[in-house]
Structures are given as C-alpha cells and as structure tokens.
Amino acid sequence: MASADVKAQDPRIAGISSAIRVIPDFPKPGIMFQDITTLLLDTKAFRDTIDLFVERYKDKNISVVAGIEARGFIFGPPIALAIGAKFVPMRKPKKLPGEVISEEYSLEYGKDVMEMHVGAVQAGERALIVDDLVATGGTLSAAIRLLERVGVHVVECACVIELPELKGRERLGEKPLFVLVS
C-alpha cells in the first residue's frame, strides 16, 4: 500500500502521547494497557486533546456527540459543549432509566450489549462517536449501528488512541476513524 503523504505531526501530539501510561498485564497477562488517567492529570495535555478534536469537528455541523461508557464520558462532553452539540451516553445494559434500544456486540470471549435512550437523537442528525481507545472496533461498530438504526448519519469516530495491530480501522469499514496517537 502506498504510504500517505507525510504530514507534520501537530506539536501537541507528543505531549499527549507521553502523558499516557502503559500498564503491562492488565486486565490480563500479555495486554499492554493504555492508561489515559495520567493524561487527565496533565492539564495542558488534556486541554490539548480536547482542543485537537474541537478544531477538527467544530465546523462539521455535528449536532450529536455520542460517548461510550465510561471513558468516552470523559472526552465526549467537553467536545460536545465546545462545538454546540448534545451529548448522548452509550451505556452498558440497565444503566439508562428510560426506554432504550440495544445492540449486541462480540467480545474476545462472549458478547455484550450497548444501549441508547430512545428519543435522544433524531433521524438526519450528524453524529460523532467518541471513546478513549479503539482496539478491535467492536464497541465503536455497535455504537454506529445503534445510531444508524434511528437514521443518524455518523460522520466520524474519534479516539485518543488506536491499537492498529487489532485492525479496528478495517472493522469500521467505510466509516472514518480519527485518532491522535497510534
């Protein structure tokens, strides 16, 4: 595959990347866990993270930012507030109190379910999906399906971190994915 044009990396990315802590063998042996909690302790790097997303999305007419429980709740709302969009939490089962629609998705072993409130979004709205990290893309795919089922156009998925070896980008297919750190 031909390589993309080399673009100068935004100077803020280095600080964001170095603020993320890697924890070996969590949640189980062999996994190098990308811990964003240390990014949240670095006020400049956290601010820069949000700014990079806001700069990208503020003129794209996005009316919905959907954040995936729980770490998507940390990044999604500041973006939503800055770009004038509503924030919609995508949650594990039985957390949302009102009427929901659900979408099942696969885990490495077994399945899980993601839920969204009925009526949170309207057909024709333009949405951004936010999570801290994309690995296999299973969770993001479930979120895309939930929103598309009710007629929302998912403009892009945005994550702080991508683990490219897990091929999440492929799983998302045509749906664009934007990440800060790969």
Partner: protein
C-alpha cells in the same frame, strides 16, 4: 447546602437546568423517582449553564483536583476541571483502574460496594472538589471524600447537580432526610437543585 443558600438564589439558569432533568418513575426499583440527567445533556444551553455555574463558583478557590465519581460524575467533572485548570481524577468501581489503587468501602441499601482511586493521582495538600450528578444518602460521596483525605488532599466541597435523599428509607420527614444527608458528609455540599419534595415515600411518615 443548596444553590439558593449559597447565593445563587434567583440565578435564572437554574430553572432551565431543572426543567431539563427528566423524572423516570420506578427506576431502578418501584418507589424510586429517578432523576435522569441524560435529558439535561441533550439541552446544550442547560448543560453549558450547569458547567458554568460550577466553574464560576470554583475557579478562584485554588482547587487543583476535580474528582468525578463513575460514571455520571465523569460527564460533568472533566469540563469543570478543564475550565478551572485542575486535573481530573476518576473514582471508579473495583477493578477498572489499571494501576495501583487505594479503595474505600461504602454501604448500599443491601450490601456494600467499593470506590477506587489511583495511587499517585494526587499529592498531599492539594485542594479537591468531588463531583457527581446526584446525591441521595451521601454514601458514595463520603467514600470519595475518605479516599481523597487518605491521600492527604483537602476536600473543599462536594458538588452535585441534584440533591435527592434516598427514597427507600423506612421513615421520612423531608427536612430530616436532608439533615441525614448533610451529616453523612460532615462537610460542605453544594447542590444546584433540591428535589427532595419530589420523592415518593414508602413506609410510615413520622412528624
């Protein structure tokens, strides 16, 4: 304890915020009138006003840490932290935080749960704010305060959008439940909205 008592009486933004919160009856169990803040998050102006009211109050208090309680505290805390130049520390259910943690047990109606915080997230002497969407008995907030104090932080205040005393209490008088709530914390608590008059009473009332 409530915004009105803290000099925010008549703030025109509070009405819009209150109206944007949806009450869902009988969730998670019969008898509970659940204060659903997800509808507040759909109202951009009301959501922004909520954050702005907290930011206006806390920006000059020398607060360097905003601790948010999983998961709805994560929705409000980071925006406040970013605006006041503080770090954000997530307080989580067990086994979610990947690094070394300290944990604190708290009492539920039936049984107990635990709240965890990363070791090293805060330094002794830091001034902290605790955020959650709603306070009922104050059990979770109390656990959060204990965690922060164990690491040497000074908890300046706990802030919630809604105050709603626990409804599944056997005996109830509105004012005494609020008092119970205050006592559970033993420190300053700011609530934007008092929903104590909206809870559904089960059991006997006592004057």
């Amino acid at each position: 304890m409530f915004a009105a008592e803290n000099g925010l009486r008549g703030d025109p933004r509070l009405q819009g915020i209150s109206k944007a919160i949806r009450v869902v009856p009988d969730f998670p169990i019969p008898g509970i009138m659940f204060q659903d803040i997800t509808t507040l998050l759909l109202d951009h102006k009301a959501f922004k006003d909520t954050v702005d009211i907290f930011v206006d109050r806390y920006r000059d208090m020398g607060i360097s840490v905003v601790a948010g309680i999983e998961a709805r505290g994560f929705v409000f805390g980071p925006s406040i932290a970013l605006a006041i130049g503080a770090k954000f520390v997530p307080l989580r259910k067990p086994n979610k935080l990947p690094g070394e943690v300290i944990s604190e047990a708290y009492v539920l109606e039936y049984g107990t749960d635990r709240l965890e915080m990363h070791v090293g997230a805060i330094e002794p002497g830091e001034r902290a704010l605790v955020i959650d969407d709603l306070v009922a008995t104050g059990g979770t907030l109390s656990a959060a305060v204990r965690l922060l104090e164990r690491m040497g932080a000074e908890v300046v205040e706990c802030a919630c959008v809604v105050g709603l005393p626990e409804v599944r209490v056997r005996l109830v008088v509105a004012s005494s439940l609020l008092h119970l709530c205050k006592m559970a914390l033993g420190l300053k608590l700011l609530l934007l909205l008092d929903k104590s008059s909206q809870f559904h009473i089960t059991g006997t009332t006592q004057t």
